[in-house]
Symmetry: C2
C-alpha cells in the first residue's frame, strides 16, 4: 500500500507484563524509618514492583512479546518492524531488540527493521513514533509494527529508592487502529539538562536531582502544552483547553507529580484566558497571575490552589489512568503506557469517540505531548478485547507481597550481578506464571541464557549462535 493511503494508524493491540512480586510502600516507610505517609501520600504510591534475580528487562520483554503474539494470534511472520524503548542498559552495543529476534527467527522471520531508542523514560514514545511513521512511510511493506517498552527502575538507598518500579509493555501498530494518532497537534520540548542521568557506567543506579527533575518536568509540560494548543488552534480554528480531551495520561515517576501536572494544565488554561475556567477558579488563581514562570514552579500556595480547583476534573480525566503506576511504581519507558493501559482497563466501554492526551517525559531532557482518538475497533483489535487480554485486575491481585527486607536484599544482589559474568541464578520460578521467561545463567563470556517456565526442559532457548 502506498503512503498517504493508510488511515488511522496507531495502536491495534497491547499487552503488559510485570514481575509477580511487590513491596508495599506503607511497609517500606516503616522499614526506612521515615514519617508515615511519606511514600503513600507524599509520593502518592501504593506499592512497587521489582525484578528478582531471575528477571530483567530482556526476560520481561521476551515474555510480553510472546504473550501479545499468542493472545492476539499474530503470526510472527506478520511483524515487519520491531522497536524497543528502554533505559535499562544490560549491554552498551547489542540492542534488546536482537534478543527479541529469537522469537521471530524460530518462525523464519529475520526481515524485521528497528533497533532500540534511548533517552531516559522517553525511549518508548520515540519507538512508538518510529513505528507509526514507518507505517505511514513509503517503505512500509504492509506488515505490523511492534513496540516494546521495558524497564527496571532501581535506585541507591535514599529518598529516590521508593520511586522504583518494573514492567514491560508491547503494542502492535498498524492502520485502522482503535487507538489512532492525531499527528498534527503534537508538541515537543527538548533541552540539555542534568536532572537525572546515568554517567556511572558500572552502576545500575542513576544520578538524580529530584527537585530539579520535577521542575524540568513541569517546565517541559508547560512548553509542550503551549505548542500543542497552538497547533490545535491553527488547525481547528478554536482554542484548546482541558475540557477538549476526555483523559490526560502522564508519565508517572510517582503519582504526586501527576496530580501537580494536571493542576498545572489547569493553571495554563487560566493564564491562556480559556473561557472554560469558571469564575470561582479564576478568582482563586488571580492572586498568582503576577508570578514569573520560575516563581510559579516554586510556589507551594499556587500548587495547592491549582490542585484544589482542578480536583473534580482530575477525578474524571486523570484518576482512571493512575491505577497501574500507583501499584507498580515508575516503569520508566513503560510508565506512560501503563497509565494508558489503566484507562483502557477502567473505561474501555466508554472510550469510543473520545480524545486522550498523552504527555511523555524523559530526563536529560526530551518530552512530547500528543493525542489519540479512540474508536471501538474490531475484534481482535477492539478496546474490550484489549482490556480483557491485558487482564490487569487479575495480574495485580495475584501478586505476591514481600517484606521490605527481601526487596532490599534483591537490590543488593542486583548490585553484584549488574555487569557481572559467570554466575548461575537460583532459577526459582515458584512465583512466575507459565510462559514467563527467566534468566538461568550468564557464562564466562557474559552471554545471557533464558528459559521459559513450563517448557518441558528448562534449557536455554538459544545459544546465540
Amino acid at each position: 500500500m502506498a503512503a498517504g493511503r493508510v488511515k488511522d494508524v496507531g495502536i491495534l493491540a497491547m499487552d503488559i507484563y510485570f514481575p509477580p512480586n511487590c513491596v508495599l510502600q506503607e511497609e517500606l516507610e516503616a522499614h526506612d524509618g521515615v514519617s508515615k505517609g511519606k511514600y503513600t501520600i507524599g509520593l502518592g504510591q501504593d506499592s512497587m514492583a521489582f525484578c528478582t534475580e531471575v528477571e530483567d528487562v530482556i526476560s520481561m520483554s521476551l515474555t510480553v512479546v510472546k504473550s501479545l503474539l499468542e493472545n492476539y494470534k499474530i503470526d510472527p511472520k506478520c511483524i515487519g518492524r520491531l522497536e524497543v524503548g528502554s533505559e535499562t542498559v544490560i549491554d552498551k552495543s547489542k540492542s534488546i531488540k536482537t534478543w527479541l529476534m529469537q522469537i521471530f527467527e524460530e518462525c523464519g522471520n529475520t526481515d524485521i527493521e528497528g533497533v532500540d531508542s534511548s533517552n531516559a523514560c522517553y525511549g518508548g514514545t520515540a519507538a512508538l513514533f518510529n513505528c507509526v511513521n514507518w507505517v505511514e512511510s513509503n517503505s512500509w511493506d504492509g506488515r505490523y509494527g511492534l513496540v516494546v517498552c521495558t524497564d527496571s527502575a532501581v535506585y541507591a538507598e535514599g529518598p529516590a529508592r521508593p520511586t522504583g518500579g518494573a514492567a514491560a509493555i508491547a503494542m502492535l501498530i498498524g492502520p485502522n487502529a482503535p487507538i489512532s494518532f492525531e499527528s498534527k497537534y503534537r508538541g515537543s520540548h527538548m533541552a540539555h539538562v542534568y536532572d537525572f542521568y546515568k554517567p556511572d557506567l558500572a552502576s545500575e543506579y542513576p544520578v538524580v536531582d529530584g527537585k530539579l527533575s520535577q521542575t524540568c518536568y513541569l517546565m517541559a509540560l508547560d512548553s509542550c502544552y503551549n505548542t500543542f494548543c497552538k497547533r490545535f488552534e491553527k488547525i481547528e480554528g478554536k482554542k484548546f483547553s482541558i475540557v477538549d480531551a476526555d483523559s490526560f495520561v502522564f508519565h508517572s515517576p510517582y503519582n504526586k507529580l501527576v496530580q501537580k501536572s494536571f493542576a498545572r494544565l489547569y493553571y495554563n488554561d487560566f493564564l491562556r484566558n480559556c473561557s472554560t475556567v469558571d469564575q470561582d477558579s479564576r478568582e482563586k488563581l488571580e492572586p498568582f497571575s503576577g508570578l514569573s514562570m520560575e516563581e510559579s514552579y516554586q510556589s507551594r500556595d499556587l500548587e495547592k490552589v491549582c490542585q484544589q480547583v482542578a480536583k473534580n476534573l482530575y477525578g474524571t480525566k486523570v484518576q482512571p489512568t493512575t491505577l497501574i503506576p500507583k501499584q507498580l511504581g515508575n516503569m520508566y519507558t513503560a510508565s506512560l503506557y501503563a497509565a494508558f493501559a489503566s484507562v483502557l482497563h477502567n473505561k474501555h466501554d466508554t472510550l469510543a469517540g473520545q480524545r486522550i492526551v498523552m504527555f511523555s517525559y524523559g530526563s536529560g531532557m526530551t518530552s512530547t505531548m500528543f493525542s489519540f482518538k479512540i474508536n471501538e475497533g474490531q475484534h481482535p483489535f477492539s478496546l474490550s478485547n484489549i482490556a480483557s487480554i491485558m487482564d490487569i485486575s487479575n495480574k495485580l491481585e495475584s501478586r505476591h507481597i514481600v517484606p521490605p527486607k527481601q526487596f532490599v536484599e534483591a537490590l543488593k544482589l542486583g548490585e553484584h550481578r549488574y555487569g557481572a559474568k559467570d554466575f548461575v541464578t537460583s532459577q526459582d520460578t515458584a512465583l512466575l506464571v507459565p510462559g514467563t521467561y527467566y534468566l538461568t545463567h550468564v557464562d564466562s563470556m557474559y552471554r545471557r541464557f533464558y528459559a521459559v517456565k513450563g517448557d518441558c526442559i528448562a534449557t536455554p532457548i538459544s545459544n546465540g549462535h
Copy 2:
C-alpha cells in the same frame, strides 16, 4: 504538507568531522611487533583516527552539526527532528541528542523530535530511516530532519586494536533530495548473536569474536541481498544483479572485509544464475557450486576466486567508496556514511542518474541493504556543493600523524577517564581547527563541559541548567 505528496525524500546535505590526529597502520605494525603487512594488507587499512582526551563523541557531534548548519546556511529553527546513531556510551540514560540541543536552544528551537538509536554500527542507519519515515509521515511539519552518526571505536590491546577509528557525520533530510531512497527494494536481516558486544559496562572496550563477526557479516549480506533482489524483481519484473547498481557501499570495519563482501555478491549472482556473470567467471566458480552455505563462508579458495573474478567491477563500483574508511578506520555508525561520502567526493560529477546500493551492518545483529537514486540536486543541495563543503582531501591531508606510542598513551588515559568524574583535560587545542568543540572538564557530578576553539573566552558553553 500531507503525507504521500512529498517526493524523493532523502539526503539533502552532508558534512563530516574527524579528529585531526591519526596513526599510520604501517608504524603500528612495527610498534606491535606483528608481521609487515598484517594491518596494511591483511586488514587493508592505511591509517586510523582516534580521539585524544579533548574530544569525544559528544564534542565531535556538536562540531559536525554546527558545521553543517553554518556551511549550508540552515537556520537551526528549520530543524524539526534530530536523530543520533551511536554505540559509544558516555551516559546510559541521557541521549547524545540532548547535548546537541544546546545548539538549537540558543536559537529558541526546543521543538525537535528524536532521540538516540542504538545497536552497534547500525544505529546511524536506524536514525536515517527514522528521519526519512518522519518526512513521509502524517506528523511531518515541513521542517528538515537531521541525522548524526558519531562514534569512537577503541579496542583493548590485541588483534582488534588496529580496527579502531573515529568520526562524526551529519546528514540533512528532506524531500526533493539529490540522494533519495528507493524504499521498496530494501532487505533486512536481524538475529540474536554474540559476535561483538559491550557487556562489561565499566569498560569502553567491546568483547569481540572477530572470526564469528566476519561470518555473521557475510551471512547477513547474503540474506539482505537475496531479499533486496527478490523485492527488486517483484517490482521491476527483472532480475537484479550487481551490474544494476553503479556503486556498492559497505559498512567497513576494515577494508579487507569490504573486498570479500563485494566478491560475495558476485558469488551470489553466480548462484542465482544471473546472465551478467560471464562464461569465464562461471567456469572458475563452478567447482564451488556444491558447497553448503556454511562451507562457503570458510573456504579460502572460494574467497580468492571470487575476489579475482570480481576484481574489475570492484575497481569501478567499490574502490571509490573506500577512501575515508581506509584512512580513518572503523567509525562504527559513521563508517557506512563515510564510505558513501567517499564516493560523493570521488565521483560527484558523474553520479547523477546512478543507483547506489548500501549495506549497513551492526553486530548483535542488525543489517539492511537499501539503495539510493542520485540526481544532481540544486544549490546548495547539489552533489558538487556537498563534495566541496565536505572538503575531504584537505581534511585528510592536513591531519597530524602521531607515533604509535602517543596513540597507545591516549587510549591508556581514555581507560582512566571512561566513566570518571572530577577531572580537567589538558585543554590542548593546538591541532583543532577553529570552530571545533572540545572537552574542558567533568565536574564532581559527572557533568561534562565543552568549549569551542576560537571562541573569545573558552568558557563552558552551558551549565546544563
